[in-house]
């Protein structure tokens, strides 16, 4: 297994992270740390903020409170720039070929390694497609792929661009058993070479060096923006 990047260990530390969406607090006081060679599985019921947490780490959603720091990373680069975000959407253009889609993201992100952490050497596009079993579609428009194939093509992006942190939101959705196994193997490999994974899922994922973060619903009344207990604040006393 080829390993590149500096030998420093990465550690992602979140302290007291809070996040508001739509005027409602969906995350509050989230603390965790996860280091190189580890996976953090974020669990919890639907709507508890698993996706929001990943989006906050990826810098897509502003956090309302708390700190997110990457120890051992490149100082002037954000956590997002050390990360791959693998969400519900595939980020594919149906009119472009599979290879064009993949090459674009490779070239757009390149150079993607900012030192810090150990990352597996990136694969070539065809190698990545081959690993995921969709090499035969390389020259076809991405619009011809099935949902599962599109998902796998989206995974290929993580393989051709080396980044130490993988933020995975329900990574196994829309995948059949065989593809799921391939993906889990790739994630395990990423962890073993010193990568760092934060995955939100409600399925049990069989990954090495796993920590768990159980999110609970935010229930306190004060967590709603503009929430007074009721309108009596204004109409109290003399009315």
């Amino acid at each position: 297994m080829v390993v590149s990047g500096a030998m420093t260990q990465l550690k992602l530390v979140c302290l007291s992270v809070a996040c508001d969406r739509g005027g409602r607090r969906v995350l509050n006081h989230v603390d965790f740390e996860v280091g190189s060679g580890e996976a953090l599985i974020v669990q919890g019921p639907n709507g508890v903020g698993k996706s929001s947490l990943l989006r906050v780490i990826a810098g897509l959603v502003a956090k309302a409170n708390g700190t997110i720091e990457l120890e051992g990373g490149v100082h002037e680069r954000s956590v997002a720039e050390h990360s791959h975000y693998f969400g519900h959407l595939d980020a594919l253009k149906p009119l472009q070929s599979v290879l064009e889609n993949l090459s674009f993201w490779r070239d757009f992100f390149e150079p993607a390694v900012f030192g810090g952490g150990k990352v597996r050497e990136s694969m070539s596009e065809l190698e990545a497609l081959d690993t995921l079993g969709i090499a035969h579609t390389a020259s076809l428009p991405a619009g011809y792929l099935s949902a599962g194939q599109r998902r796998r093509l989206s995974v290929a992006r993580l393989l051709v661009v080396p980044r130490p942190i993988w933020l995975l939101d329900e990574p196994t959705s829309a995948l059949d058993k065989a593809s799921e196994d391939v993906l889990l193997e790739l994630i395990a490999e990423h962890i073993q070479v010193g990568g760092l994974v934060v995955a939100a899922t409600h399925l049990p994922l069989n990954l090495p060096n796993t920590r768990f973060l159980k999110l609970l619903p935010v229930t306190s009344e004060s967590e709603y923006m503009f929430a007074g207990t009721d309108l009596d604040d204004y109409f109290d006393e003399d009315e």
């Binding site: 810098g59 720039e81 975000y85 595939d90 980020a91 064009e100 674009f104 070239d107």
Partner: protein, 222 residues
Amino acid sequence: MNWMKVLFIREYQLANRVGGGALIGVLFFLAVVTIFPFGVGPDMILLSRIGAAILWIGALLATLLGLDRLFQADREDGSLELLVMSGRSLELVVLIKCAAHWAATGLPLVLATPILSLFVGLDFRSVVLVTLTLLVGAPALTLVGAVGAGVTVSMRRGGVLLSILVIPLAIPILIFGVSAATAGAIDSNNFFVPFLFLCALTLFGLVVGPLAAAAALRVSGD
């Protein structure tokens, strides 16, 4: 620098491949120019007097037509998230997307202008002036439009609202563009004063457009 080239090429290709690309904008431009004589009558003298304005308004409407998809397609398929978190300057990404969009849809409008100007009976000098002012001014329309596109990116049918928001911002561009185009002579102050204002507006759009649109796109991640 490679990433800019790659992004430009992809955006240009997509703009050309999706929905008829350049052709659809030019067709719309043609349709708008064609409809004017039916409104004002087939009076060639009158048409040549307002021809520059017709062409400018046609180009403005044709530019607005395609702008709502500028960022929306990327938002719907998840590309926008990756563009935002890539670590590339989002302002530059916006600028490159605008440049590619303009190359794919704005430039064909400018190239079609000399042909369409025959329909409104412009003389040779006016044709040159209209084409020149559109070449300089149309990028400003795209850049100002990008602000509207960024602001309405999360809306399912944001196209009409985008036009309502952008048209007031486009009025100065139209004023100076048409004034320069109807100046009559290229070497007079009548031409230079509005033409330089038009250049200034384009430069202004180069700054404000990407800054504001990028700010709006960052918000859209919420």
